[in-house]
Symmetry: C2
Subunit: 463 residues, 2 copies
């Protein structure tokens, strides 16, 4: 067996503690899989007096980052402190000191991928990040290695477990958004300040990473249109259900070719037929991709509609394979540790170094698609208004939609209460395909009508 | 860019044609991903006069296997002829000639894995086989690399698309087994002789391969208990549905520890809660694993119950990550080609060689678990009888079950026709957990009763 691979752990919180535990409790298994021992040399923490896993030898716990980064018995630095300031410095310093880096830090890669990867190439070291997207679900390897024969043509993913937990609770138990959020917080699935989870930012960071691997785009945050789940009312979940749909927060990437296929109803679906991929010769290298995070209405039978609770799932369309799905725990101590340790084993085996060199991520040569401006993306829309129960209201709204050349697929005006209360009545409109820009223009006009209770609520349709 | 990797394709039927097409139509993409060109040097066929993909240069098509195996510009031989006689000779000869081998041949690996892998180690060459299990779904990489931090504790998989297509058609459209099979044959999802698909043999071969990777067992065919779908009557699908279950043909591997957890209802399910893995320290290296292929009743909400049509899906329980699911097209020209070309790219990058050396599959050192004798495996059972509508019948049956210490969880006797026809009446019994051996003993006795129309129909319950 070869020389041990020495590891310094920077950060020993929830995930770091899990990684240390796996390396120490399962040292023999890990050594066997990596074809060499993986030795935990340093654990850098902020507060050394905190109680830790008893398996961690006291004398490797330190507060001194620099000594860990410059320990010559350390070949890999595992960054698990999160955030984009200290973490970035740690990662760049580690690379400069000649260490490989394993990180679960999605924000760092989404924000500074080019800088980090350029530094790694300069130092001839490797950066691994399976744990940065979808926790324990090995989607980085799937996109980068298993599907390497394919050009990915679309990705649809549930990447935020907190949001999916909340939406599942609303759909299955009829909870309001705020009760479901409160429950998620009580159970520890949502932070005290849940903003980054429920407004789509967390999923957008992860989508940016998937888009870099699949399309060679280094998408800036503002290029990823995002809409959160915080505007979803229990009544929308109910109306969607009546129409045969489930609302999920999806991170989506659509190449122009695949988007056109979807619009024409030509996409391969898990509809009980043999899956057949688009003949690869028919695809003439689509060069732009639309990226967004938004609540989407999925048919109850869609694979992603059936992903419940805090789970993550990634549905990938490849031009050779067709559609494949990857699902599992998207967060948590041990699932995330599973992915971090897999990266360490890959470094031990020597696979990761070769993958890193071949993939040329966040590099000039790796540049591929351009990002489609959000307003040009076409979709069907679910639009829910609260309107006054008066003559002419419907005429105003349908006129505004017609002016933007948006045609209506279905319309349901829910019954008014015949109590003369004059309470506004829910009106649900599902449109045919329309450009997002024109739909938003129509929305602005509708929101200015005095007969609607602004703001209108809208979501994309998944079909 | 490095030297080209030269490839000889042995067999150019459905899958071989797909592989050739991807290599030729997407040569630039493949070269970029592999960090070197992948050059198709030889295509060996039986009938050179057959029309082929026009992209294949005429002058590389040959009937001469030996010249391809000894071509010094060839580094990899792709075996796609299937079967276990000629294919085995081709693979062993290729290794002896110093070539790496890529194969989609599940029967060859299940039957002769030790011999093939020993030959590869002796020749210091690599064997890749992502396409041998679940077609386009990258489950070999998932088990061997992505989940390398885990000891797999259980696998539940839909590995035969033909059977799943038939069961889906029976469940969703009320077809009889024979009509569903006829439809599958008409659509090309089932062979004229469908025996190996519907009797569980095909799934058992694939399960043997997954069990080697996950548990280090070289299971012989007779060690994998198998029951096909050909005994499933439309009435069983209906009764299962009434009880809240869907019948799927599953290939399953259960370690004793995980099986006990399942029996105690302690397993992690996608039940809307945060997925939490079993604390790894609680698992004391379980050393035996039960393997079987059989129709299983799954709750409608189970992930695998929702896999429709010809799709494959593999649910893996890992002691660190918890459960992850991999789903997609399990067969077909382009999905299988996607996996074969991924293996070629891995060889080009140099990953596959390292994986092969580290994994020590089908080797003496890699030996792990023992195989649990099928009769010792414990399960709940669905038992459906056709009984005479006479006093005492129920007493006889329940007595037999009680004598084998099998207790009854639920029992439904469907109503007799009050026409005095004396037609037998369906009786459905669901048992509590019982050892398979004792259940089969009880079955034998029940089948000898003169008041039952033999043979009784039975399936395992998934919970």
């Amino acid at each position: 067996m070869s020389e041990p691979l020495g590891v310094a752990l920077i950060g020993c919180g929830t995930v770091g503690g899990g990684v240390a535990h796996v390396l120490l409790a399962h040292a023999e298994r890990v050594a066997q899989r990596a074809a060499r021992p993986i030795a935990l040399r340093r654990v850098v923490v902020r507060d050394p007096s905190k109680p830790r896993d008893p398996l961690i030898p006291r004398d490797i716990i330190t507060t001194d980052i620099s000594s860990a980064l410059h320990d010559s018995s350390v070949q890999v630095v595992v960054e698990l402190i999160g955030g984009t300031t200290v973490a970035k410095k740690v990662v760049l310093d580690a690379l400069a000191a000649g260490k490989h880096v394993v990180t679960a830090n999605k924000a760092l890669l989404a924000d500074s991928g080019s800088e980090v990867f350029e530094a790694a190439r300069k130092a001839e070291r490797t950066v691994c990040f399976e744990a940065a997207v979808a926790g324990g679900v090995p989607v980085i390897r799937a996109l980068g290695e298993s599907l390497a024969a394919n050009q990915v043509t679309a990705i649809q993913a549930i990447l935020n477990g907190t949001s999916n937990f909340i939406l599942t609770a609303m759909a299955e138990r009829g909870l309001s958004y705020s009760s479901a959020l409160a429950e998620a917080q009580k159970l520890g699935y949502a932070e005290a300040d849940p903003t980054l989870d429920v407004d789509g930012s967390d999923a957008a960071h992860k989508l940016a990473i998937l888009a870099q691997i699949s399309f060679g785009v280094a998408a800036k945050p503002h290029e990823i249109a995002r809409q959160g789940i915080d505007t979803i009312d229990a009544m929308d979940i109910r109306f969607a259900n009546e129409l045969g749909y489930t609302i999920k927060l999806l991170a989506e990437a659509w190449t122009s070719e695949e988007a056109r296929n979807a619009e024409r109803g030509m996409r391969n679906k898990n509809n009980g037929q043999e899956p057949s991929s688009v003949p690869s010769s028919a695809l003439r290298a689509p060069r732009s991709v639309a990226l967004h995070v938004a609540p989407v209405l999925l048919r109850h039978t869609d694979l992603l509609a059936q992903v419940r609770g805090a789970y993550n799932a990634v549905l990938v369309y490849g031009d050779v394979v067709g559609e494949t799905l990857y699902q599992g725990p998207g967060a948590g101590r041990m699932p995330t540790a599973s992915s971090v340790v897999a990266d360490l084993i890959d470094l031990g085996v020597g696979r990761a170094q070769r993958t890193f060199a071949a993939a040329r991520l966040w590099s000039r040569e790796g540049r591929g698609f351009t990002v489609e401006p959000p307003e040009r993306v076409r979709s069907r829309f679910y639009l829910r208004l609260l309107v006054a129960d008066k003559p002419g209201v419907l005429a105003d709204i349908t006129r505004i939609l017609a002016d933007e050349e948006i045609s209506i697929s279905s319309l349901v005006q829910h019954e008014a209460q015949e109590d003369g209360s004059g309470a506004p009545v829910p009106l649900v409109i599902v449109t045919h395909y329309a450009a997002t820009g024109r739909f938003r223009k129509a929305l602005e006009k509708i929101n200015r009508l005095t007969t609607t209770s602004a703001p209108a609520v809208f979501f994309s349709m998944g079909d």
